[in-house]
Each structure stands twice: as structure tokens, then as C-alpha cells.
Symmetry: C2
Subunit: 211 residues, 2 copies
């Protein structure tokens, strides 16, 4: 027996609990052992947690859409950020992932709009500018009204390569380009930062020299 | 903002993703941050993982029952262990939790039946012998055919207090009483042991001196 066997020992493909554990073990942060604990935790709280969780997952899967403007996930399209008229139209903050947008929203220090790339450029994985919605971003800039593009990418090699590419692409757009202040640890990912560090990095953002 | 805020920053009770994150954060091993990561992981794998997981949770919640013989959770009652005629009727292994039963089953080193207490005696929390199914256990012994009761409780204070209580209760039953061999680390919980240690502890189990 190895620890990778998520369920109990019986060979039964119809075993509902075993199948549940196998699926839970595919969540980030849950290995086979913690997936078993999570399943038992659910089974002991059938009405209070298990059924509400099943409903919440179905409901979210059914209702969540990708915003056709900014690329984030929300129950409406355009998302509630893009359609919120109290938010500034000037600044657009470019992030890699929806989780980064959530992290910035939690700081409450940014009141503009977003552009969610959904990843970074990767020749290896065949991720080009189109997959990251760069043409969509350029179209937003052409519509006018954008005063600043904030590059809030991860301080990783991939993030910085992508930021450099965007710097080149946006050089002639006439829009002010900024990036998050140093304060983001080198090699660090935004979603792991505490809110205070992220807030400080945001308010001390600085201009990017365009080539 | 504190880190205990599981969702994004908007105050919207109808936010499906926020509600999903709040529920995921109640699973053991997932804090608010990892719950957000898990939710995004699901949202990116809607058909491959998110919908199957919702279905598995519903299905398991709907079909899993508590075995009226041994107290484990299974899709049938009596459970597949209790109704498996190839398993020995002689030995009954007493465990605290269903997770402990699963851990022992994974070792493949026990082929008898179980009795799942569902906890330990606790005066503080008002858990008495009835809540642990001790009368049900005694009734099983009265039916005859039981050759050995193996006390496979956690090596914690609560587990050992409960084991001591069971030793007293079962002293006059005429059934051989054993406990797991030392090898279970003091203060350790069965479900955290590697299978090899658990297997060794199982095969070296020894008689309990009855008072
Ligand atoms: Zn949007
Ligand atoms: Zn049973």
C-alpha cells in the first residue's frame, strides 16, 4: 500500500466515498490523506456543510462566466467591476490570474478596471499574445479614456518576461505605463502576499521606461 | 482587511464564488487562502473536476449510511464489511473513527469485523458509553462467536481512557482482549501513521490484563 491510494482498500469502482476522496485529492493543498479527512468531515456534517457545498459548487459552475471585457470570472458578463460606474475608467490593472485580481480587490487600494491575462507568455506551452487577450486589451486602449496601464504581474521570470513584452507592445500607445513598486519579493507570487505589502507595493508603483 | 475574509472584497451575499470559498474554507486543511486557490482550480476545470465533484458530494451525501451493526459509513447497511461472509466473525476491532477503520483496511492485515465508537468518552462533552455504542457492542458479544476484541484506539489520553473503560466493561465477557502493540507513537493518531508502522503494531498486538 502506498499513500497515494486515496480511498479505502476495497476494489469497488462504485464506492461513492472513494470516488469523492479521489476528486477531493485533486484540489490544490489536499493530498490523499487530507482528502480522506475532508470527506469524513463532510460526512459528519451532511446537512450543515456537505449538501450546501455540493449546491455551491453546482451553482457556481452553472453561473460563473468569463467577463468578455476584462477576462475575470463573475456571475455576470460584463463583470460587476467592469459594469460598476463608480469605478475609474482611467487606470487598467493587468494581472496574470483571477486570484491576483481578488488579492488586489481585498486591499481596497485600487478603484480602476482590470485586464486578466489568464497566464503568462510561454513559447514552450504555446501561449501567445492572443491567448492572453492582448488584442482585446489594445482594443480597449483604442476606445480611449485609459490614462494608465499598471503592470501587476508576478515577480517571476515568466511574469517579468510577459511584462517586458507588454511594455514593448504598449510603448506607442501614449498611455502611461506603471508597474508595482518593489516590495513584491523577487520570485514571489501576488496571491501569497499579505495585504499590507501588496497595498504598499500598489501605492508606490512607478513609471516604466518605454524603449 | 484580514486574512480571514475568504472571498473577494465586494459585499454581496449572492456572490456564488464567495459563498463557495467560504464553504471550502471550512474543510480541514484548507484555510481562506487555499480555499480561494481550490475554488479557482475548480473554476478552471468546470467539466473535468468541478461538476463531477459536485455530483460526487451529492451522491455520497445521498447514499452513505451509518452501519447499524458496526457504526461505519457505507452505501449499504449492514456495511460491506459486516455483510462480507469471507471475513472472520471471531475478532472485532474497536476504533474511534471511520478514518481509523479505513487506515486499518488499507494495511490489509485484518480480516475480522469492526466496532466504530465514533469518538472517545468525554465527561466534559457529555459523551457517555451509550453515545459510543457500547451497549450495541455488548449485544454483539452476547450473540456469541466473538473470539477477540482488539482495542485499536488512539494512543492519546482520551483514547487510552476509553480503552481502560472498555477493558473494565469487557473484563467479565470471557472474550480475549488485545490492544495494538507499542509502535503507535505516544500521543499519535492512527490516521497519521504510515501503513507499515500500523501493520507492525497490528501483528504484534498483545493481551490486555483485565482487572
Ligand atoms: Zn470585467
Ligand atoms: Zn458494519
Amino acid at each position: 500500500m502506498t499513500d497515494t491510494d486515496a480511498g479505502c482498500h476495497r476494489n469497488d469502482r462504485d464506492d461513492a466515498a472513494r470516488w469523492l476522496i479521489a476528486l477531493l485529492a485533486r484540489l490544490p493543498g489536499l493530498g490523499p490523506r487530507s482528502a480522506r479527512r475532508a470527506a469524513l468531515h463532510l460526512l459528519k456534517r451532511r446537512d450543515a456543510l456537505m449538501i450546501p457545498l455540493a449546491d455551491a459548487i453546482s451553482e457556481t459552475a452553472r453561473t460563473i462566466k468569463t467577463c468578455t471585457v476584462c477576462g475575470t470570472l463573475d456571475s455576470s458578463d460584463p463583470c460587476r467591476i467592469c459594469s460598476d460606474e463608480t469605478r475609474a475608467h482611467g487606470p487598467i490593472c493587468i494581472v496574470e490570474q483571477v486570484g491576483d485580481l481578488w488579492a488586489i480587490e481585498r486591499t481596497g487600494s485600487f478603484h480602476g478596471r482590470y485586464h486578466v491575462l489568464g497566464g503568462t507568455l510561454s513559447a514552450l506551452e504555446g501561449v501567445g499574445p492572443e491567448a492572453l487577450g492582448v488584442p482585446r486589451l489594445l482594443a480597449r486602449l483604442k476606445e480611449g479614456g485609459v490614462s494608465e496601464v499598471i503592470l501587476a504581474l508576478n515577480a517571476t521570470l515568466d511574469g517579468q518576461t510577459t511584462a517586458y513584452y507588454l511594455t514593448e507592445v504598449l510603448a506607442d500607445s501614449g498611455v502611461k505605463l506603471t508597474r508595482l513598486a518593489h516590495g513584491v519579493p523577487v520570485g514571489g507570487e501576488l496571491d501569497y502576499l499579505d495585504d499590507g505589502t501588496l497595498m504598499a507595493a500598489f501605492s508606490a508603483r512607478r513609471s516604466v521606461e518605454t524603449p
